[in-house]
Symmetry: C2
Subunit: 442 residues, 2 copies
């Protein structure tokens, strides 16, 4: 993509109302634009990041056997009256009446709706288990939306729901999703720590939150550093038959967020040199729900012994739009964002230091086409802006590789490659550079 | 995908409340499920179709230079007060108040919001032209939702908006989108006829609707058969420099929907043997808007002569979820849906006629893996259902190719290939069949 054809409204100055780095950088790099308090449009760069995250989540969920559907945003209140949550849910629920005066709401979550789909379609244990998921915009009318997409009102969430014939199988689904989540976060370049959590009003008796460390995290977190050493357990294509042992291993270390923190336990279970105390951003939350929704809403299946039993459910959420903010909080510097190559909106920022210089333009065009032909995505900064402004733009947008060509390099048939994260620079022949980048990126 | 692992709730009987074929078949084949009047969940098969359509639209729009963004579903009423449409829009607008008592609405369309994004980011003619598009759920509170996704309340729409410095350039953008639309519809397997239309309350003075013919179409349409002969004009990678001549050609034939129909003109301009009178389903609508929104909302750019002028806009819509219904209306038979291979949820339905028979199971497994390795998508009907039920399921879901293996075929190393659309059958060796299918499908 050429910047001259693109829609890339970067800002030179820091927006005054943005308090944290991710919010500031998302506005400055032209990823998002605020439409109302806590409601954002996703501009081209931001949307590409959002979709890259979606696709990583989708591919790991599909490997786990989960099946994608899509539920609507607007829900009838009557469904929520069945579970008892319509009145229980507070002012965070966006409520409205349709033209026939029926109570409707903008879904803040989808337990009721998925239970309705299930009870209308599945009757026998023979069709179980099922894990269904969707990625859809949700709305929670936060009293004080802030931190950009980290605490917005309209937000994109991936929510999955498992259905099993009994508690034992439902706990296995829960374990499978725990491992799948750890794999998703690892592919996003994050170490996310599962922390035993309270279930709260959603119900059930087993729950974990996943936190990534960042100084701006909303919760204090306390955990055993040993967790960092077990990444290979879930990261290297685990056989799904070993789920139970992987689950046991990843949950055996002490890890809690502030609500459940118990200093005595932390000190007794974790040796001094292993104690990590930090701040965490919650990026996922999983629950074993039991039969709370299925009992209330008559989601009944025939068991092997011909008895009618309520189905056992679990629910599993990842904040997809919030993840964009969390990734930036975890990876940026004073110049801007630093994307992991699998999440970056483009792999490469191609910088022409002297637009209009014949040899430079020709070298850049050649490299631009060669990158595209090699399957690399490239943002070609081809405007008349001076070099400094182009460097600032490309640093700000966080593309992992920069490919820089000026008149001198063009003459000598050389390009400079800069790694955004490390600032490492290399001079490489124009003839070889795309092959080399391809090897490192794809 | 194996049916035993999938979520495919097909129905044997016709739902009583579905009046037209697409609605009936989408419910029966397990593509959608109704959540409230005019509000649907998309089940796995339906969602795959929806995404295939999205991807075809996206790829043609990108070729035209349009850039994708994503606007939110919830909009502040104040934006619509600026254009004067907040009060003008009738009860089809879903309105609500947030917890701070601010008037909000669920976007039925996005002219105001895109104008707000534009005015906040673009100041100079040097950054023009721009065509921005998004695909997002919209809500129109139809008084009588019906015909399934054809006239739903929550629906997926692709809307694009063009921004140009003057009327001449804006009309060129309009022409480019006209040609892009014809290419999109052709890739979806449809001949869509552009019909001169009234602009109505959206504004502007130039507009075309795109209709596909179907007996259940909502409008009477009248056009010159000659239109069918000019498909090659836009279908074969047109150079975008020839846009104006292609546009001239595709709009020169008489074609109107009932509102603008004039019998005298139809009879005088179209020879008797060329007159087509039928019913049309509207699947797209394009408008040249002029400066209606930019003037009202101060979307001003600096022109080459340093004057401040309101930007000239166009808007371009395709009903994406409605398209699923329109495609089925245009292509089905008494057994079910018949998908075009580029839109089908899977290319191939693999039918095991005797699950549990060792040789048949082995042949099917081999074919299943070979299809996947060849890059073909395949739904393997691997349940214990009897053969008749499997045929009925696969016919109903409309997969373009069926690959059928029974005990006798497995013994002789032969599979049967059936083309869903024509019922044509071939016996092909298990060793060659995947290569042959790959050649026909990819």
């Amino acid at each position: 993509m050429r910047v001259s054809d693109y829609f890339l409204p970067t800002l030179k100055d820091n927006p005054s109302d943005a308090q944290i780095a991710s919010h500031r950088l998302m506005l400055r790099a032209g990823l998002i634009r605020q439409m109302a308090s806590g409601i954002y449009s996703w501009l081209p760069l931001g949307l590409k990041v959002l979709k890259n995250i979606e696709n990583i989540i989708r591919s790991e969920l599909e490997k786990s056997g989960a099946v994608e559907i899509l539920m609507p945003t607007i829900q009838p209140a009557d469904l929520w009256r069945e579970s008892g949550r319509y009145d229980a849910y507070g002012p965070e629920m966006l409520r409205m009446k349709d033209r026939h005066n029926r109570d409707m709401l903008y879904g803040p979550t989808n337990e009721e709706m998925i239970t309705d789909i299930f009870r209308g379609t599945v009757r026998s244990y023979k069709k179980l288990p099922h894990i269904l998921y969707h990625m859809q915009w949700k709305f929670r009318d936060e009293i004080r939306p802030r931190f950009g997409v980290m605490r917005g009102r309209e937000f994109l969430m991936k929510d999955a729901y498992s259905f099993d014939i009994d508690e034992e199988k439902a706990r296995y689904s829960y374990q499978k999703m725990m491992v799948t989540y750890l794999r998703i976060f690892a592919r996003l370049g994050l170490t996310a720590i599962p922390m035993r959590a309270e279930t709260g009003p959603i119900g059930g008796d087993l729950s974990h939150e996943f936190h990534v460390l960042a100084p701006t995290g909303e919760s204090a977190v306390y955990f055993d550093r040993a967790f960092y050493n077990i990444k290979s357990l879930y990261d290297e294509n685990p056989e799904f038959d070993h789920i139970e042992s992987v689950y046991k291993e990843v949950t055996k270390y002490y890890a809690t967020a502030d609500e459940q923190y118990d200093e005595d336990e932390f000190f007794s279970r974790v040796s001094e040199e292993n104690r990590v105390i930090g701040r965490g951003i919650e990026i996922g939350h999983i629950f074993y729900l039991g039969t709370k929704y299925s009992s209330a809403m008559d989601a009944i299946v025939i068991a092997p012994d011909s008895q009618e039993v309520p189905v056992h459910m679990g629910c599993y959420g990842i904040g997809v739009s919030r993840m964009v903010g969390a990734l930036i909080e975890a990876s940026h510097d004073e110049k801007g964002i630093i994307w992991h190559k699998d999440i970056a909106p483009f792999h490469i920022g191609l910088i022409n230091l002297r637009q209009g210089n014949e040899a430079t333009d020709a070298a850049c065009e050649k490299l631009y086409q060669a990158c595209i032909n090699a399957g690399l995505t490239v943002l070609y900064h081809d405007t008349d802006d001076r070099a400094g402004a182009k460097f600032a733009d490309i640093d700000l947008t966080g593309l992992p590789y920069q490919l820089i060509v000026g008149p001198k390099g063009a003459e000598q048939n050389m390009a400079e490659v800069k790694i955004r994260a490390t600032n490492e620079k290399r001079e490489i022949s124009v003839d070889n550079v795309v092959d080399i980048l391809r090897g490192e990126i794809l």
